[in-house]
Subunit: 472 residues, 2 copies
């Protein structure tokens, strides 16, 4: 679930510590002899570090078995005596199968789904097969029977149409096999994008489809990896919601994860664990370690969802037009970009406009030309929260008259996925418009009466409740 | 402060009411005779409406002086007898000058700064000159002596380099004239963009420079216009902070506005009043109607700001390179866009990457080509909150090696403004990099130890304090 290891030789080393490794031509798994400025000699193997650790020390596993941190800036000399890469595997134990438990398939897209830290060596041991997962997170066996399939191995920023289509098809196959739920391990960078496209490509699912990842790799003490994975498997196995969801760390405590609807979720912080937010709606449910009064792990925050029903036949429609773009408006946005996109053959453009869905006047003729040439142009808002309301001002109405289609409060990235999915199926303008505006899965939510205050929490029930009282 | 009136003939009418006006060829200020399906006859003048009102009624000022709302869908016939546009002006009263009070100049950029609703007619009367402002918001005379200058009249989405440069020069002139503070009336769509560019163009100011606007036009009962304007004038006249700031509605109550630093502010909801958020920092201060224990209208939330000092000489540097763009990354973002921008002569590009600052692998060669051709490429994060941390993974380091400059937690829109401002001054790569990374006014804020929870409030001190306790 964390990203694949992106580094090898200097794994986890930064700053002065890394500089020292580079200076002496040594790296992780080097057998070394290091002497510091007091003359102390350290012989052993350099261990990988986690990026959370400080950048001042180099950690050496001494021959006596102890680990020691040597201050990088006080190293007087160091030389490599050899190289001894430790490859550790979690002992494969058969994942215990219990016929009373539900069957869950975990689909891998890249990176480490789970891992275990070897405290003797500091090594991070990745786990993926059912047996390895059982070794790394034995609690899983209490939750469900598990099967795993590695579909491909890419960083989440490299996910694209090819992977979306493969995922949609694999989901269809697992459903056909009769599993009770599907978990998809995914990097967090574009997890909400994948949630959006799968919501369109896989409709009418009989079972839950749960994307899960972690913001901190599983070798870190503050990792959310095991918690998220267990809660995702609980969701796939037993949750009533048969939709595409993200299962990620809830914001108030380590006690629960939140289930976010695939079309309404956005990553809102580059590094915090509680980074995902349901925008313009309430999250679907919380998932906790323990069963609540309803006998379930879940506290449902709405009842407006597709219920689990194993007799339902899914619709798998893996269409995707590649020539689609998102453009966030900024002052002085120049018409040459729109003309350029049009001449490069772009068939669709999502604009994230300012305010209620505005762009500057000099763009109007370029938008008109692009639409006349066959580009579908839709309007969303760059404020993230709120609605494109293009009937309020004449300027908005002018844009509507040019043929721009307002997407209300559809998130720009969700609108991008829907537009690519629709344009993958038709080039008839009327049909494109009809499909864009026909709801698939809450990609537009109704406006609710409000008091004019913006609650950015969007996924934090007890705090929301408090703020509600406090603010009104 | 609200946008200029964008509509005339159907001002404020929407839906069925507007459709009825169009059907019968009548509009605002038409003298009409309307008959409904029960045979009742209404003779009078059609009044403009506010967009907040319902879309079911047409309001007619009857000849007897009463206003009546006629249900649009029950109109049987209607004809125009004439046209009687009422042009109302607030009686010009001399703005009372008090030599003990501070002198504030209000610069107009477009739209209505303030207005008064004429309850007899329903007409909205715009106010701009000091005399009109005094007529509309008489409390202003208790706060400061006021002068006003209309620089130009554009919707805020049409603000661009020409206006920024004119504003920066006008600010310089007002400072030279010796005013105690400057207020800039501005539409909210791009107010934070203007706050960012003015922070770079006008440095070392001796006095406060305060952008102000309103999310609800001043004819609406829930308008924040007068409150924001009064608080902006209080800030310009007496606040200790001599920086470019936004003065907008605070989120918890009508009791105060928040002062946001120009480089760190973002509009986060398309329609709510409490839409502006300071991102990655605490707002500078609150401004209230009444003086607090410190004898000031302000509660300072930090002391890390440039203090008011009328002897200080400002640096006015109105540079702006027009060939700069922002691109928010999305899955399957295609290299042809970057190649296209490069061949169109774009000299600068802000990427808002995923996660810690990532883009997909196929873009690397295109970025390399663009940089080799002389484009400056900087990285920000599309999560809005958090930092580009490009040293964490090999992929990030690869991007750094291509020459991408990481902007830490600079907001994408602030990075755009800084890049345009820097490229307006030099084309020397080393100097560009130096200037981009040299702090001007807190456009990058230091990382603070945190508990891993994302507090999206960012500008809500008492609620923050509570959440702090609650979450830890």
């Amino acid at each position: 679930m964390s990203e694949p290891e992106r580094d090898d030789r200097y794994q986890g080393y930064r700053g002065p510590a890394r500089a020292a490794l580079e200076r002496y031509g040594i790296g992780v798994w080097s057998e070394v002899e290091v002497v510091n400025d007091r003359g102390s000699v350290f012989k052993g193997v350099i261990l990988p570090r986690s990026e959370t650790f400080d950048d001042l020390h180099i950690v050496i596993k001494l021959v006596n078995g102890y680990n020691v941190g040597v201050v990088a800036n006080r190293i007087a000399s160091a030389r490599e005596l050899g190289y001894k890469k430790a490859v550790y595997r979690i002992p494969e134990k058969a994942f215990p199968v219990d016929s009373r438990k539900k069957n869950v398939t975990l689909l891998g897209t890249g990176g480490t789904i789970a891992s275990r830290l070897d405290y003797r060596t500091g090594a991070v041991i990745p786990a993926f097969t059912p047996g390895e997962l059982y070794g790394a997170v034995p609690e899983l066996a209490d939750i469900a029977n598990m099967d795993t399939k590695k579909l491909f191995g890419v960083f989440s920023e490299n996910m694209g149409p090819e992977q979306y289509i493969a995922l949609a098809k694999a989901i269809g196959e697992e459903i056909k096999r009769g599993v009770d739920g599907i978990v998809i391990g995914h990097g967090t960078d574009t997890m909400s994008h994948t949630g959006a496209i799968l919501s369109f490509m896989v409709q009418n699912s009989p079972v839950p489809i749960v994307l899960v990842g972690s913001q901190r790799s599983s070798d870190r003490p503050s990792s959310d990896a095991a918690l998220n994975l267990m809660n995702a498997v609980r969701t796939a196995a037993e949750c009533d919601i048969a939709e595409v969801m993200l299962c990620m760390f809830g914001p108030t405590s380590d006690n629960y994860d939140l289930l976010h609807r695939g079309t309404r979720c956005r990553k809102m912080h580059s590094s915090y664990r509680s980074t995902f937010r349901t925008i313009g709606a309430t999250p679907l449910a919380t998932v906790s370690r323990d069963r609540g009064e309803n006998g379930q792990y879940f506290k449902y925050l709405t009842d407006d969802f597709l219920k689990r029903d194993k007799t339902r036949v899914p619709i798998i429609n893996p269409s995707f037009e590649e020539k689609v773009t998102i453009q966030y408006y900024y002052p002085n946005f120049n018409p040459d970009i729109i003309d350029g996109l049009s001449s490069m053959g772009y068939r669709g453009m999502v604009i994230a406009g300012t305010g209620l869905g505005h762009i500057n006047k000099p763009l109007y003729p370029a938008v008109k030309r692009a639409i006349e040439k066959g580009m579908t142009v839709v309007m969303t808002v760059q404020t993230i929260w709120g609605y494109a309301q293009m009937y309020v001002y004449d300027t908005g109405r002018d844009l509507l008259n040019l043929g721009i289609i307002p997407m209300d409060n559809m998130l720009p990235e969700t609108a991008y996925m829907k537009l690519a999915w629709v344009l993958g199926q038709t080039d008839d303008p009327a049909e494109i418009r009809r499909m864009l505006l026909a709801p698939v899965n809450h990609e537009i939510t109704p406006r609710e009466p409000h008091n004019g205050y913006l609650v950015l929490q969007g996924g934090l029930p007890e705090v929301e409740a408090f703020i509600g009282q406090h603010w009104k």
